[in-house]
Symmetry: D3
Subunit: 340 residues, 6 copies
């Protein structure tokens, strides 16, 4: 069984019920999630061996996060304990023309204050096949960025495949650095990058282009620009999202393998139960396809896009869909019949 | 007031809230339902006198089911008490491309172990006008099938109209018999059959055909095949369902009276709040129309299809819609305005 | 900061959860609302100084309503205390083809028994710029109608702009008077009227016309008829609603300024979370635009229609949307992206 | 099976959850209850045939009350439909030193406006053995008092045993009459009266006495005074309650048979889950004992007091305890062991 | 109407339901509270004019706190807006032998970063009669301590009565200062101090003594020591608490007026619904008594202790008891009867 | 770190909320538990390495149980998958004089149909120090009894300490065998037995005795009788329980080491939040003490009794108390103070 390591932050998510606005909430649903951990959960559901590396505070809220990681059968062997608090994000789930709203409350979280040279990356990566990280982690603090670089370098040195989700969040990156100061070095070791071209050019400090995702033939030229910064890059993927409204999305995807564009056709997603984590579901599907020798690139992008779609029907950060369920949808069966 | 008897199983239904997946559920909504009882509830709402015959365990869970039957004003006079457990089904309500999921837990239920010659069917049917049963009951156990046959024969002997819903569930029929071993004898006495043609041919052991529901003219010939097994058959009806996704259905219906196809036009049903029991709502509407002398066949099928549609907006197994509400929709008013 | 006064009833709203029908409810969500107060809440969110005048019983339920008014920062200075009970309305929220259902329980409420000459309207209107009332208040009782007339006359005398929402509810008007006995005198002082033409003609006792809202050119002639009864009238506005089903509306609006029709284009509203109070949200948007010198009539009607649309996504009577959120939608951005 | 009729009001009860104060409540638990109906539910649980006579409004809230009556297997044959609203009471459940709080909202309820000569009491009482009413009903309105008198006279004429629970509520009796104007005539026909002596003297207009319930020997003399007003009186019973705090009661009871005082020893009741309806539970136990020939007076009062105690552990108005459970406690087994 | 100002932090409180442990919680009840604000709410309930001064972040969570302040009718005129986050505390409510557990998450809260010279204390205190602060505020950060000192000095200069609740929390005071570095200067201006003697000596850097609260005669000598540091001190009060277990407390209190000990007798408090904020309820009662000329010292301490007791029966931080309810208990009526 | 293996059934537990009776429940809280697994959870909390061996059905409900096991960090390495259903038990939580009620629904569960020779016990016990089983498992079915015997024999052969909790449930043992047919052979290998003497004599087919737990000196003689059947027996322990009512228990314990009685003094436990699993909490405490060399027998029984007490304050089957919390109580600190 292939083994995948992910590294990043897991947060307490406090969301209002029944589309209530924050001012109406008298309680919050408490779940846990974070981009890189969400990817790990997807991969467990597809049958992989996974492990999540993070830093958790030694208090009851940190313990709850730890139990959630265990519940979903992700290994916790190299989790570091310390720091004062678990990061939090508040979520108000929108509907129709009213978008969802996130209030971040992740200042001074345990992982923001992680120190370099405190995680034994060689031990972490022993026996692993793949390492995944995302642009959210270096956006938290310079400490987190530095440890992320440690991880990427160690993984690269040990010959492990590295996937990077650009994951740009403008509300983060508040510690005096811009993405272009940090991300190029981190992305240098990537074998797989997920992100749209605008973000990729912005983060790697390249000139703004004007990609036209409707014109597939024009895309290879632009994607090729990314290979300059990342010499080991094999694949670039982009989620295609068209938002009709908060309850209705259209989702497709692109996988470029350095030669050819593979395209997952746009699928209607309505109603949207919860779209948070749908990019991570896409990423999970991508890794699944790329890790399975028997799966070709076209099926990989179909699977990734299907995983992204089905995530929208599931509450919480995780894509709690089985391999069979995603394959069914990737194969075109979207009628949502009752299974009985 | 006309009187209708139904016979079958009532189950405890444990459903997750808010579209949660089973693995996310920390509680279950507890309601009660079962195909034949669901039909009885519909008919009470339309003003009929109804009675439900079943077997319930003498424990607190069985008592809850009994109270639910009483609450909806269905007579309980001939319910038999005994056995160990009430059957259960777990329901995870899907959304969009993710279908709902049912986990049956009905092994060894009270009705599965019902004995022949323990219900006085002559007393049950005294004063009754109609008897309804469905293919779920003989699918549970050979005992349940045998008692169902008792009922059908008694009703037939007493000149009561018999309606049969084929209701095929592949996850049942686990006791060593196939539908074609059991159903032909049971269906022999039917005056009204609800089901699609494929299921009807399969259950009566006839050759597979290829019905084209778009081509109305081709259908009488196929429906006529069913009259061979059921000499007293007057009507065959079929629910037409097209599933766009779990939250969006298109619903119509067909009523064949041995001469002519009556067709209820396809109606959009979105969002779907709960589709379980929508076939029973259709059946309830059908019986309503056929029992009322003043209602013609076209209106009967329009009413049945409207009842099926409106059920999709109601949580739980029951079509808790009033006669006026169904008539309003059957009459074409589907704008869902606020009544105030 | 401009100051707006509204006068009317605030009720306890008891609504079933999760689209349950009344017969399935074992608890009710308790919120508070009422047309005129709802308008005040909208206006606070847009930055105005607002005050709500009403009569509340001196019991715990009345106190809850008072706290709700305070919570939303609406002044309570001139609220009168007395009477036996707070009016109640029960709400069953529909879905798809099943419309929502309101059961009024507002007989003998505190405001129904309000006496004339008990509110010092001169004090109420001192420093105010705008007074809003609606046709629900005079529909409650002859006492409420008489006090409403006091208010309108006092406001008019003090030179305050008066807006009137016709708000016809056939289930009210049970005290022996018809709208045409009461409303013409009340509407005489209006500067702004919100309502559809049929209702306006009916309430002012004018002959029924046949307005065609698709034919914009034909409308001024009809709207002009309203100026006869209301000599100070400057604006008439109408919400345009097309109900596909209870979960899917199409919403636009018209603002006539005595010369020209301004038209807000129809917008799809789906899913509908809660449509109660959406007319009040429209009214709130209208007042906002008309009170701001910098806003032209076209933007006013666009803003009012956008406010109406966004209200449909919010649970409860209030349009808890910020100025920025409504402006975003009025400006055409309806994609409902996640704000993070 | 003996048959008992009760007559009175059933109300919608809206209670806050988890001991919340009204100002903290964002939802209410909705149940149904009322003194005389509560007695009927007790008696069904003890195996009697019961029927409840009342007046219900023809709206959804009235229908909910009707379903609740059916659920508990109380006959609804003679219920009258009409009027505008179902009476409501709001309940805030206290704890410790903070008492529970009731806000009545029962003005203009359906039964308050019931008319004389609209119920066929002869039909109601045919085949009945016992009629029970309470002092709450004549306290609602003069109409309700008049119909209550009709019922009592009819029952007396037909030789049916009549029990009366004095049930004094100072917040009712608002229609211009005092208990002593109404109750003596009503109580004249009683065979059994439940109430404390102070209330009995007050309601029958007799001079205030000073009963000492600790001094059992002194009581017969006082109880004998009640026989003057009620010539057919056989039994007087009193619930003994000592309230340590809202969560801790001490409960006993007295049954006087015209000759002898029978005394149920005081039992500790803590914690109190819900004390509303505990007097009705006592009454239900009393009727049970008096209707069973095989039960002597001592066991009757023991049973009634035990029923009252066990009610305190059950949420809602009803004493949902089985005959076995009450007998167990009446027999002295109060250890509350797990039954498994 | 007397006016009271309080200054401090208001936090989001996230508590588990139904005594669940943190690891079992899938949602949190969200309320708001903080020692000094809790006192303000008490005083509003007793009929005073109150205002709360604090610093709130300009985000949705800060807005929720603001609405809560408004809901309870506490003036918000001088609230400062700024900073990144609202402080949070997580609460697990214990039972019996398992104590409640608080996890603080208040690092970097808005008020921790408040700057001196940003609040116009002269404006704040204009027209005020009383200022209340507690030892929690200077424990948060040196900024908060410095602003607290500004407030105390300004109040003192303006001749306003100052009350100080020592409120020692060992988990705070993490910014490099100890109480004895900060508190003596702050307490210098106090007219009223609430706290136990051990804490008072510790915070003012005085030698540890061994107070015996059972020996009332020995206490004046010890209390007198506090007057050395606080020359304007008139009253010292102490809450007496004996904890049987988390659900059972015994509560009394002492008020020393420089001459005499006034003692509120110990009262049993069981069950405990929520003990957080009970010290603030005591403080609120104390201020009530001391601000009312008509109330003597003995009644003041009886009232304060009764307020503390009744708070234990109320969920959340606030003592939502009316003046009448507290007076009833202070007067000795603790039977918790149903009010109906 | 010492390793403990437990073997048995884990069930879905469906409990009513807020002390509701079954007939009032519209939803059930869903948790998981079972005697032997509960012991494992206790031991994880005390720092041991634990593993649970069971048989789970391959369906969604079985998967939920599996995730629960993982969440609490109990190893799942040797769990067997197969069978049709997860056993269920319904729980109605009592209060005061009304005891809790369990309805078992565990017929035909996965573990009831487990086959011998399908679990590799040698692999299971490799590296383990302790094996725990209870009398519930052989009570389920002859298959379960046979596999239990396999386990016991294998453990004994490998020199692993074996603890046995007698755990008699009269509602089980329905497959034609009595305890005395099965238990003596199983208990033969025990090193530690938990149970009361009556049950021990009954299960081992010995003559009934009359133990007097108040007379400690009389007990060794009786306990010694158990050593006859179990030659390797070192310890016998008994939980002492006195039930005042369902909300108030008194709990102590006895540990006999073949020479001496060690006695944990009786502790008041009130209120009782949930007593299910309290015997397992006792067992977990016992194993903890006996496995730690540094802990003497007196402290072992004190710790076990304290664990039992604290469990009563925790909802669900598990004793989610930390080592520190149990030690605090075992050491006599039971005041339940707030930790903050």
């Amino acid at each position: 069984m292939k083994k995948v390591i992910t590294f990043g932050e897991i947060l307490l998510r406090l969301s209002t019920e029944r589309h209530l606005r924050f001012s109406q909430a008298t309680n919050f649903n408490a779940t846990y999630g974070g981009g890189e951990f969400n990817v790990a959960v997807s991969l467990v559901n597809y049958g992989f061996n996974t492990e999540f590396v993070t830093r958790l505070p030694k208090n009851d809220i940190g313990d709850c996060a730890l139990q959630e990681i265990r519940k979903y059968n992700v290994a916790t062997t190299n989790i570091q304990f310390g720091g004062d608090r678990l990061g939090i994000y508040f979520l108000e789930t929108g509907a129709g023309t009213r978008g969802s709203k996130v209030v971040y409350d992740r200042a001074s979280s345990a992982i923001a204050e992680i120190e370099t040279n405190t995680i034994d990356w060689e031990a972490v990566f022993k026996g692993a096949d793949w390492f995944h990280w995302s642009g959210v982690t270096p956006a938290i603090s310079s400490n987190a960025a530095a440890v992320c670089l440690e991880a990427v370098k160690a993984a690269h040195k040990m010959g492990i495949t590295i996937s990077s989700d650009l994951n740009y969040r403008s509300k983060l990156w508040k510690y005096g650095k811009e993405p272009k100061d940090i991300m190029p070095e981190l992305l240098k070791y990537s074998n797989v990058i997920l992100g749209d071209l605008d973000t990729a050019f912005f983060m790697t400090g390249q000139e703004k282009q004007d990609p036209d995702y409707q014109d597939m033939d024009s895309l290879p030229e632009l994607y090729d620009l990314l290979y300059k910064n990342s010499p080991d890059l094999s694949y670039v993927a982009t989620t295609l999202r068209y938002s009709v409204n908060a309850s209705h999305q259209k989702i497709g995807g692109i996988l470029y393998d350095g030669k050819k564009i593979h395209y997952a056709k746009i699928r209607e997603v309505t109603p949207v139960v919860d779209r948070v984590g749908s990019g991570d579901a896409f990423m999970g599907g991508l890794i699944y396809g790329l890790l399975q020798d028997s799966i070709d690139n076209q099926h990989t992008i179909d699977f990734a896009a299907a995983a992204c779609c089905i995530k929208h029907t599931i509450t919480g950060d995780f894509n709690l869909a089985s391999l069979e369920e995603v394959e069914l949808l990737a194969g075109g069966e979207s009628s949502g019949k009752v299974s009985r």
